[in-house]
């Protein structure tokens, strides 16, 4: 194998699994350390810069970072009773938002630069548009955001129940963006793209989401329409207070996070017998595991492998839904089909049905001749790098771009689209993306002292305290999760392995004494003859069985061998560097920040 090129920013970025997995590439270990130090405002600002909505995401993020977390690969099964768990990254983010010093934050927030004379319209007031607005307002653009709802936030405000995300948090974080200045909000539904373009904006960003809930198409649907609701619309009506109660017996169809929000909301509006019924198996459900857990914790059973067949009704009033029991069959390619299991149909009685079986994009307001092309699935044809559409001035992001994802993706898209818009408007090529900002610094303080807490703890993941169920179900506004308090937050933060403090190897200094090999608790380091990667992985001190994780190859050794480090399970404890007599190993903090529009034209 070739020696590892550690000058390539991607190499060490990839080692920071959480940051690499995060669509916005938030520097996770850095803010977790700041939380452990009680520097909540600084932790908040790192988040704010990167993902724009720390308080919101700290409660609602889909957390792609957590399945990636190295902790869940290195915990000792015997110490954690068989359940290896990642660091509670998402809920630690909330700690930063909960305990920050608001006055301090207000002084840290950027202000709009002097107007540069360019105007950008953002259509839809959700996270993608708000991110574009923030990134561009700070460098002098004038932003106009259009939304049909009276307040900004988009799906964050209308779809997420307040018992999961209090409205005050949304107001606060939307407020930070508007507070920058040069951002105008127009409470106005956009019905024509041409009309928007005609207003002479220099660029238009479409962040209008995927607003259409998929409907149910079975016999009886029309007859019982009064008691069948599209989940998305129903949630937003609840959010705005238009709907305040629901029948005693409720069936929620669907297995995604919207279904989980629907069933838990129903429990708070008078639903006593609420169940979720899904077509797929329990494991394949789209909802996040923790959301399923929370739903089941509120006495909501999840019945699976049931396909709705007919809505039964009497005198124009719903009586229940009949389901066909199915089973999964897999073809040679591993594709799944659901086939009737042959068991008798099941009938479940109910007073209301909430349909949460998917959502779709809809752009009825974009005229066919407006210069924006769509593909056969109804999604805009986009440049995946720049988010630019076939119309030179129009960019897309968030769910509107590639279909329904979640908030953190919307923020990431927003950053990227803002860079493209800025580059286009200053006459640069948006295809050329700015490199990330990287700062690498040794953490050595003394012979055996490091500027980070390098001793890994063996604590199991700490649970976030919840409000008592009886109390929580009584009040739809009462937030269920109470968040970590500072003491718990410190303990949970200590579980972080500081993967951004990298093991950097300098072969020229190495005397091949094996001290690092001997001390490494994870047996990650091997000195051996070079070879092809596949073969090399098998003959290390401990086999490197995870091909998604790189081998770090160091050369320049006197014996002609190579140093091979399996990044997969490294604890970043620094013992290799501590036992190294020559400083061939050093622990260097690798701080990587994605470049945003503000610096997008800096030299590469």
């Amino acid at each position: 194998m070739k020696p590892t090129d550690i000058a390539n920013p991607d190499y060490f970025h990839k080692v920071v699994d959480c940051q690499w997995a995060c669509p916005a590439h938030t520097p996770v270990p850095e803010y977790i350390r700041l939380i452990a130090h009680g520097r909540y405002s600084d932790a908040y600002m790192i988040n704010w810069k990167s993902n724009v909505f720390p308080g919101i995401l700290g409660r609602t993020c889909d957390r792609p970072c957590e399945p990636a977390c190295r902790r869940s690969r290195v915990e000792d099964e015997n110490l954690v009773k068989g359940k290896k768990e990642p660091v509670a990254i998402c809920r630690l983010k909330r700690v930063a938002a909960d305990y920050k010093d608001d006055d301090d934050i207000n002084t840290k927030m950027p202000k709009a630069a002097a107007k540069n004379g360019k105007r950008v319209a953002c259509i839809g007031g959700g996270p993608a548009s708000l991110t574009v607005a923030r990134d561009l307002a700070v460098i002098g653009y004038e932003i106009v955001i259009y939304d049909q709802d009276p307040k900004l936030g988009g799906f964050i405000r209308t779809q997420i129940p307040h018992f999961r995300l209090p409205e005050s948090v949304i107001d606060e974080e939307v407020g930070y963006i508007i507070g920058i200045g040069n951002i105008e909000f127009r409470h106005q539904r956009v019905d024509s793209m041409k009309a928007v373009l005609a207003e002479g904006y220099d660029a238009v960003f479409v962040g209008s989401g995927a607003p259409r809930g998929r409907d149910l198409d079975v016999p009886g649907r029309k007859e019982a329409a009064a008691n069948i609701h599209i989940g998305l619309d129903w949630l937003s009506s609840v959010s705005f207070g238009h709907i305040t109660k629901v029948g005693r017996r409720v069936i929620v169809l669907g297995g995604g996070n919207t279904a989980m929000d629907c069933c838990r909301t129903a429990r708070r509006l008078g639903g006593e017998d609420v169940k979720v019924i899904v077509r797929s198996g329990f494991e394949e459900m789209k909802a996040s595991p923790w959301e399923k857990e929370d739903a089941m914790g509120e006495d909501i059973p999840i019945l699976n492998m049931l396909v709705p067949k007919e809505v039964t009704h009497k005198n124009g009033k719903i009586t229940g839904v009949t389901f066909e029991k199915v089973k999964a069959e897999y073809d040679a390619k591993g594709r799944r089909t659901l086939v009737p299991s042959g068991e008798p149909d099941q009938h479940h009685e109910c007073d209301d049905v909430l349909v949460a079986i998917g959502q779709e994009n809809a752009f009825p307001w974009i005229e066919k001749d407006s210069g924006i092309e769509f593909d056969k699935w109804g999604l805009p044809k986009l440049n995946e790098k720049t988010f630019g559409s076939s119309h030179p001035k129009v960019f897309f992001g968030g769910d509107a771009a590639f279909g329904p994802k979640n908030i953190i993706w919307a923020a990431a898209h927003g950053h990227d689209a803002a860079i493209s818009i800025h580059k286009m408007l200053i006459g640069e090529n948006p295809e050329q993306r700015p490199a990330p900002g990287v700062n690498v610094a040794s953490q050595k303080m003394g012979i055996h002292e490091w500027s980070y807490d390098n001793a890994p703890t063996i604590d199991h993941r700490f649970k976030v305290p919840h409000r008592a169920k009886k109390e929580a179900l009584k009040d739809i506004m009462a937030e269920v999760e109470l968040g970590f308090d500072p003491a718990l937050a410190v303990k949970e933060a200590q579980r972080c392995l500081n993967c951004d403090v990298q093991t950097v190897f300098t072969g020229k200094l190495c005397i091949e004494c094996d001290a690092c090999v001997d001390i490494c608790p994870m047996d990650c380091i091997t000195f051996t003859d070079n070879g092809e990667e596949k073969e090399l992985r098998t003959r290390l001190v401990a086999p490197a069985m995870n091909p998604t994780q790189d081998l770090y190859i160091g050369n320049d050794l006197k014996t002609g061998r190579v140093m091979v480090k399996d990044e997969d399970v490294c604890l970043h404890c620094g013992l290799c560097a501590e036992r190294c007599p020559t400083g061939a190993w050093d622990m260097r903090k690798y701080y990587m920040e994605m470049t945003q529009a503000e610096h997008a034209c800096r030299k590469q």
Partner: protein, 351 residues
């Protein structure tokens, strides 16, 4: 020294041996020796060997004298018996322990000062008595604890860190051990675990006096140009005669091998020691030839390593003394004080 303890977390592939322990269970406290010390590598090799041999940790006794090397037993086999004895007097204590309980696996850990200077007399006698043990000298050629004076094993002409050449002849512990009657003698290098770990395993399995001289560079005081015990020097001059590939018991002779690449030594208990030849033909069971080869190596400035001498049918102290089968410490009052009739019989036999 290192401030944090070695984390308890471990590689997911770590498995338990037949005794029910992982390799990590054979570790000790975190080392307080200088970073990069060869002794730590030897400790790691001892841990690996003990793990691979499936030894129960509480059935090992590790004894040492005084010095950097003799501190090392704290850093391995944390669940075994240990005795940090008097300077140069570890052999006496080990002889006593072995007499009292022959059922433990004995491991003596010493250094060039402890064994070749103050303890040279004891060293010679424990070898000739044939204690069933593994005696490891972590040999760095200097007194590290007193800042790098030459020890008795430093080669003549070797340059100290201060720049002074050694004018005394070195004591070669390997030659001395063979001469004094050790029945398993090897030399190795802390920087070559592929050779060292199997040697330690074979030594621990050997039922007699086994001695290993392990060159272990002192990073603080003897790892500079001009030293003959530095990492670079030993790597350049290492003349490895063989490497133990595996030890097979009688029952499971399975591996096939190309003729001429292995030397096989059939031991008294029926097990086979397979030695992979690394250069010349070398028969480690020929004592006179072994002494000759070791001396030749010294003349040539080679560091001759590998299994240098093995007596396939070793006899140990208990055999010489014709002791009872049971370990002496397990005998009860009845056996130890058989009463006046037995005494009368003995007295009568002497009249």
């Amino acid at each position: 020294m290192t401030y944090i303890a070695k984390p308890r977390l471990h590689h997911p592939s770590l498995v338990k041996n037949k005794a029910g322990y992982t390799r990590r269970d054979y570790e000790g406290a975190v080392s307080t020796l200088c970073a990069g010390c060869g002794h730590d590598s030897i400790s790691a090799a001892i841990i690996q060997a003990s793990y691979e041999l499936d030894v129960l940790p509480h059935q090992i006794a590790k004894l040492s004298g005084i010095g950097c090397s003799s501190k090392a037993p704290t850093y391995f086999l944390g669940a075994s018996h240990g005795f940090n004895t008097v300077h140069g007097r570890m052999p006496s204590v080990m002889t006593g322990a072995n007499l009292a309980n022959k059922n433990l696996v004995y491991m003596g850990v010493s250094g060039d000062g402890d064994s070749a200077s103050i303890g040279l007399g004891q060293f010679a006698h424990i070898m000739r008595r044939g204690i069933n043990m593994t005696y490891i000298v972590m040999n760095n050629g200097v007194y590290g604890l007193t800042k790098g004076q030459f020890s008795a094993t430093a080669d003549k002409g070797s340059i100290s860190k201060k720049g002074v050449a050694n004018s005394d002849e070195p004591i070669d512990l390997v030659s001395l051990a063979i001469l004094m009657g050790a029945t398993f003698v090897g030399r190795s290098f802390s920087g070559d675990k592929h050779q060292l770990v199997p040697l330690i395993k074979a030594a621990m399995a050997h039922k007699g006096a086994a001695f290993l001289d392990v060159i272990s560079p002192c990073v603080a005081f003897n790892n500079h140009p001009g030293s003959t015990k530095s990492y670079d020097y030993v790597r350049e001059h290492n003349e490895a005669l063989n490497r133990i590939d595996f030890i097979e018991s009688r029952e499971e002779i399975t591996a096939s091998y190309d003729p001429g690449t292995l030397t096989t030594v059939r031991q008294h208990d029926g097990s086979l020691l397979r030695l992979r030849k690394l250069g010349e033909d070398y028969d480690p069971s020929d004592k006179v030839a072994a002494m000759k080869r070791v001396q030749e190596g010294m003349q040539e400035g080679e560091v001759v390593t590998g299994l240098l001498y093995v007596d396939p049918s070793p006899k140990d102290l208990h055999h010489h003394l014709n002791t009872v089968d049971a370990a002496l410490n397990t005998l009860g009052d009845a056996e130890l004080c058989p009463g006046p009739e037995a005494l009368d019989r003995i007295n009568a036999s002497l009249r």
